[in-house]
């Protein structure tokens, strides 16, 4: 099937043999990484279709909502109305709160009738969120625009150097996908084990982490709920774990958080004697 150029980003997470590591980092346990953490003090931005602030699953945790508006093609950031056009952003936020109930959520809406997922709007929303110093950004969407490659590359670097963790869902379709396949971001695909805290480190990038993304119960539009599958729903699990770690260890860099996640991952360990 490889000749068909399938993305197959989730493939490694269904074959544990491919994930075997031989270097357990003994000092780093889950208890050390996030034991007792609720995500308190961390802001998590959801760059998506908006957040339904009144949704029961969001528990009143949305502290700010903005949207990108295009005026003559130029993006500007404006206050948003606290709604979610599709339910997708709310779904992601609900997953994050399920792991890290005390984070503060910021909605950055880059999808909409007038935006139609334009890469420029997405980039503008991302830039705004980085400038605000929001600690963790969940990007369960990506741009297909080759023209914006360098823009997103620059933004990914700026986030990395400012200790902003970009948690990105790898796209399930075979196409360019920015910034989700850049090396500095937390690139996430789905595994099918129904455990929100089960995480895998993939030693064969571009996708580096696997989290639950198959038949996930999610919050949806108008106070509703449904069950969904996709890398979109794997990324917020990792965003939640990143928030837990960053809340417990202030000042930790994205590089260090990645290392901690890899250290506590559920990968099988090969014990080498002698």
């Amino acid at each position: 099937m490889t000749s068909l150029d399938l993305p197959a980003w989730s493939e490694p997470f269904s074959h544990p043999d491919a994930l075997v590591r031989s270097m357990p980092l003994a000092g780093v346990s889950r208890a050390w990484a996030w034991g007792g953490s609720t995500g308190a003090g961390i802001r998590v931005g959801v760059i998506d279709s908006g957040l339904e602030v009144e949704h029961p699953r969001l528990n009143g945790r949305v502290v700010d909502s903005v949207a990108v508006r295009l005026v003559d093609g130029e993006p500007e950031i404006v206050p948003d109305d606290g709604a979610d056009l599709y339910g997708h952003g709310t779904a992601c936020a609900g997953i994050i709160l399920g792991l890290a109930p005390d984070v503060e959520l910021v909605s950055i809406r880059v999808l909409g009738a007038d935006l139609r997922g334009k890469g420029t709007a997405f980039a503008a929303g991302l830039e705004w969120a980085i400038e605000q110093g929001i600690g963790v950004l969940n990007l369960s969407l990506s741009s297909k625009s080759e023209a914006l490659f360098s823009v997103f590359h620059d933004l990914a670097d700026r986030a990395y150097f400012r200790n902003v963790a970009l948690v990105c869902a790898a796209n399930n379709v075979p196409a360019a996908s920015y910034p989700s396949l850049f090396s500095s971001v937390f690139s996430v695909a789905a595994h099918g084990e129904p455990d929100p805290r089960r995480v895998y480190y993939n030693p064969a990038p571009p996708v580096e982490f696997g989290a639950w993304g198959v038949d996930v119960p999610i919050a949806w539009k108008d106070g509703g709920s449904t069950v969904a599958t996709g890398n979109s729903f794997a990324a917020p699990h990792v965003a939640g774990m990143v928030a837990l770690i960053m809340a417990k260890h202030p000042g930790m860099t994205p590089f260090e958080v990645k290392a901690v996640l890899a250290a506590i991952a559920d990968n099988p360990i090969r014990h080498e004697d002698g």
């Binding site: 197959a8 999808l111 935006l115 990506s142 399930n172 075979p174 196409a175 099918g192 539009k221």
Partner: protein, 258 residues
């Protein structure tokens, strides 16, 4: 004057290209629909699904229009229009992100209006974007996999392959549909800065101005007949071609009346 001559030569060449393109388009009427139909048929069959359909983005007003559908329960979707800012298809189109929802009836807003119009409410939906080089042109969706409550990740990734086929088909056929745009682009590239935009537009307009009247006039009647011939055997087609050749040669030899 050299420029004038160049423009005349360009116009002659353009007219030939435009005419051939229009003839090809006439001869291949419905090719896009047929290709898309074969893709949704194959998709529904491969996934053993109740229905599969393709919605394409159209402008003025912005909408996603279901162009083809397959499966016993899919037919009702054809012609349906949804806003890009609404529903699962709207999300997949706008975000370019593939999505599978199980138990969609739990979504209080799940295309209730659309479901009422098609008379069919699915339990599960898998939807992937149709991506070309410039962005998303539409959405391929599959409804209700038989014998399974939902679609798997693997289904989703396989579906993306079908989506790519669909996009290739659309791109190929739209090149013909957009003859004028294509001619304009080629002219601009060839001319570098030698032609102003107005000149390019004038040339393209002159080269293509009578192509829309293809149902009128004896030439287009001939094209229509040729389209019918495509359904016949090779012998009939060859015979007609020979007859036409004789007529054309006869016309060539005959001195033109004033």
């Amino acid at each position: 004057m050299v420029v004038e001559d160049d423009l005349t030569a360009a116009l002659t060449a353009l007219k030939a290209v435009a005419r051939r393109s229009a003839v090809a388009r006439n001869l291949q009427g419905g090719v896009e629909e047929r290709l898309l139909q074969s893709i949704v048929d194959a998709t529904a069959s491969l996934f053993d699904a109740e229905a599969a359909s393709i919605a394409l983005f159209e402008r003025d007003p912005d909408r996603l229009e279901f162009r083809v559908a397959s499966g016993a329960r899919g037919a009702g979707a054809i012609g349906l229009r949804v806003k890009p800012s609404e529903g699962i298809v709207g999300f997949v189109f706008s975000s370019g992100q593939a999505l599978v929802l199980s138990d969609v009836t739990k979504d209080p807003r799940f295309d209730q209006e659309a479901a009422a119009r098609t008379g069919y409410v699915p339990r599960s939906v898998a939807a992937v974007p149709l991506l070309d080089d410039e962005g998303t042109v539409g959405v391929l969706q599959v409804l209700d996999k038989r014998g399974s409550p939902s679609f798997s990740l693997r289904d989703m990734e396989l579906l993306a392959i079908f989506a790519r086929q669909a996009t290739t088909a659309i791109t190929a056929t739209r090149v013909q549909r957009d003859t004028a745009r294509l001619l304009g682009e080629v002219l601009r590239q060839l001319a570098d800065d030698a032609l102003t935009d107005a000149q390019v537009e004038a040339l393209v307009s002159e080269a293509t101005h009578d192509l829309d009247d293809r149902t009128e006039g004896p030439f287009w009647r001939l094209v229509d007949h040729a389209e019918l011939l495509r359904g016949m055997g090779e012998r009939e087609t060859l015979l007609v071609a020979k007859i036409l050749e004789v007529v054309a040669n006869h016309e060539k030899r005959r001195p033109r009346r004033a």
